[in-house]
Amino acid sequence: MSTFGFTEEQNELRSTAARFLEEKSSSADVRRLMETSEGFDEATWKQIADLGWTGMAIPEEYGGVGFGFVELTVLMEEMGKKLFCAPYFSSVILATNAILNAGTEDQKKELLPGIADGTTRAALAFVEPSGKWEVDSAEVTANGGKISGTKSYVVDGATANLLIVSAKSGNGISLYVVDPDAEGVTRTALQTLDMTRKQAKIEFNNTPAKLLGEEGAGTAALQKTLEQAACLLSAEMVGGAQACLDASTTYAKERYQFGRPIGSFQAIKHKCANMLMEVEMARSAAYYAGWAAAEDPEELSLAASLAKAYCSDAFFHAAAENIQIHGGIGFTWEHDAHLYFRRAKSDEIYLGDATYHRELVAQKLGV
């Protein structure tokens, strides 16, 4: 089916991204980077900054390119296809939107240009060891310009050079800007199922923290940030699911058993057809969510949960079927099937799984 809804410029961006990632995010690149502790390549990061990707949706007055969520949707989908290893989701999606949603004009001017030009790699520390996705579950406390407590599951939290942290004070939840090198910060890399995306636990002990925007306004800003992130993570999942479908289809044509390609057997053919159907539906959900993030603030919240719910299941299913269709070879470390499978599970769970988002859908519909 066609990729409706994109301008020629956006389609051009997609082609450029696909070409770039084909070259810079091969299986060998991904495997090399996933074994490193930082998990990304400085030189490649510099290149995507030069391409404008890190400032893609940052307004021009803050040093960005001034495009929006539809362009991010395109990029995330293409990165998802290639499991691109970089702090893009953490810095350009999560942290950037937190700053845009919460920061004062001055703070945006101070913080965003660095993200846009790639020198700042920011991370958003909003979830805690409890694992609760609700933004108001924060237990890290803020008091007199200092924060204390533990955040966890912080994407690229160990390598970021700027942290945005949610914490509660007497006035509710607020966001704070924290220098990861400040006193009282202990960052511990976590072991991750998806080795292509790093996470960290970060402990704060009376760490100096600058309020981002207004005190107590963190809940709304963070909520919106996570909704925007859910839209874009959905796009990444569509890319991943498409890559699984492509790999399965290719293998099903090439692999012979019983004297014929396994794709000629209905058991395999119908699996591929079901994947195709779900990938198409997931694409619809993610594109719609990207559009809502860009154009329809009232619809954003529902569209985000809708997309996260559908795409989470679809990507996991595609990644699981991809292993099954590949049979024994799909179960080897050397084959990429497990990298997508790990990513699928991790993306599915991150920001809340399908069950969680369906409950949100029910709430948002007033059921």
């Binding site: 066609s2 119908h270 519909l365």
Partner: protein, 415 residues
């Protein structure tokens, strides 16, 4: 789903033109009722509604089939015109097509693609005005998924074809003036090569229509028996032996119709009072139960992704894409979704779903919808057949070995 696309100036102008035509041609009070959102007014307007009159009016206007050539009642238009007329008709809660869904949806496109000049002149305009209603005569008891193995015989004799055999799953056969008939003119060649496509006058002697009762208890379809039915040779569409190619045009258009891309009649039936989603939610008790909420939310998510996908496909169509095998994607999705959802509604209602007071129409409708849904994955191509087509035609997966390939039809093994 609130995704909308802004009209280009050209499209906006066309939309205005359609809207203006509608305001002038609708029954008194109708446009008012819709524009004001007043449900009572619309009910009033409906009471004086002349369905046949409306069918004629829209059929003569060209808006019923903007893609059809002007000389046969269309607008010789672009695909986007079809979308706009449909949107505007839906906005006014009107069906695009009158009675003649199969005529406009299937027979028309087939005749435009494969009919000769005389046939187009004779039939197309009257299809659009619903003056002549059409039905489809493809399936047979022994030829369901494997339509190309149809065995109804057409024997040529003195400038006529004589038809014998049985067709099944024919909707609105009783009301139809003509049928699209797939019949075998040559049993000695492989199955695809011996079929021909005919226009059959349903009032011909020897056509015997018998309602077929389904598991719902109603008879939505018919069996049609042909006993020495005579068809003049000029009613052959395309050339003899090329019927399968002609039939595929009909089938592609059928899949699109069944994939939910033209659900305007639902909008017509729905009225302004309550949207179908609200009605669905109301039909589910215990909505505070987390498990029930999952069912409701999943229903919403699945419905939305389906509608968004249809919207995307429609937009693609606006750029001129012909209906292809991807219609199967939404068709299968629709079918499986509808089975899943109608079943979930039953469970949510507990014992009241399976036993109710005589005359309780809500319960009857729920049970009917539940039973009716089972046909969704059978009619117009089973989900299994469509998955095979999706795999082969969209993904390019290799075909299975075909045991009947190249074998004369009469020698193919059958039940």
């Amino acid at each position: 789903m609130r995704w909308t696309i802004e009209d280009t100036p050209e499209r906006a102008a066309f939309r205005e033109q359609v809207r203006g035509w509608l305001r002038e041609n609708l029954p008194a009070g109708w446009a008012d009722a819709i524009e004001s959102g007043d449900a009572d007014k619309l009910d009033q307007a409906r009471k004086s509604w002349d369905f046949f009159g409306w069918s004629r009016t829209i059929g003569m206007s060209g808006y019923g089939a903007p893609l059809w050539p002007k000389e046969y009642g269309g607008l010789s238009g672009e695909p986007w015109m079809q979308n706009i007329t449909r949107e505007e008709l839906a906005r006014y809660r009107l069906p695009t097509v009158g009675l003649n869904i199969l005529g406009v949806g299937l027979a028309g496109p087939t005749l435009i693609a494969h009919g000769n000049e005389e046939q187009k002149k004779r039939y197309l305009q009257k299809i659009l005005t619903s003056e002549e209603v059409w039905c489809q005569l493809f399936s047979e008891p022994g030829s369901g998924s494997d339509l190309a193995s149809a065995g109804a015989r057409a024997t040529r004799s003195n400038g006529e074809y004589i038809i014998n055999g049985q067709k099944v799953w024919t909707s609105i056969a009783q009301m139809s003036h003509f049928g699209m008939l797939l019949a075998r003119t040559d049993p000695d060649v492989p199955k695809h090569d011996g079929l021909s496509y005919f226009i059959v006058d349903m009032k011909s002697p020897g056509v015997d229509i018998r309602p077929l009762k389904q598991i719902t208890g109603s008879s939505e379809f018919n069996e049609v028996y042909f006993n020495d039915v005579r068809i003049p040779a000029e009613n052959l569409v395309g050339v003899e032996g090329d019927g399968w190619r002609v039939a595929r045009t009909t089938l592609m258009n059928e899949r699109v119709a069944l994939s939910g891309l033209s659900l305007d009649s639902a909008a017509f039936a729905g009225g302004t009072r309550k949207d179908p989603w609200a009605l669905f939610v109301d039909s589910i008790p215990n909505r505070e139960d987390g498990r029930v909420r999952q069912f409701i939310a999943k229903s919403y998510v699945e419905k939305e992704v389906k509608e968004i996908t249809q919207f995307r496909a429609n937009m693609a169509r606006m750029s001129g894409a012909q209906p292809g095998p991807e219609g199967g994607v939404t068709k299968v999705y629709n079918a499986e979704f509808n089975k899943w959802r109608s079943n979930g509604i039953m469970n949510a209602n507990g014992p009241a779903a399976v036993a109710w007071d005589h005359g309780d129409s809500d319960s009857e409708n729920r049970a009917h919808a539940f039973l009716r849904a089972r046909a969704n994955s059978i009619e117009g191509g089973t989900s299994e057949i469509l998955r095979t087509q999706m795999g082969e035609r969209i993904l390019g997966l290799p075909r299975e070995p075909e045991v009947d390939k190249g074998i004369p039809w009469k020698e193919i093994k059958r039940s």
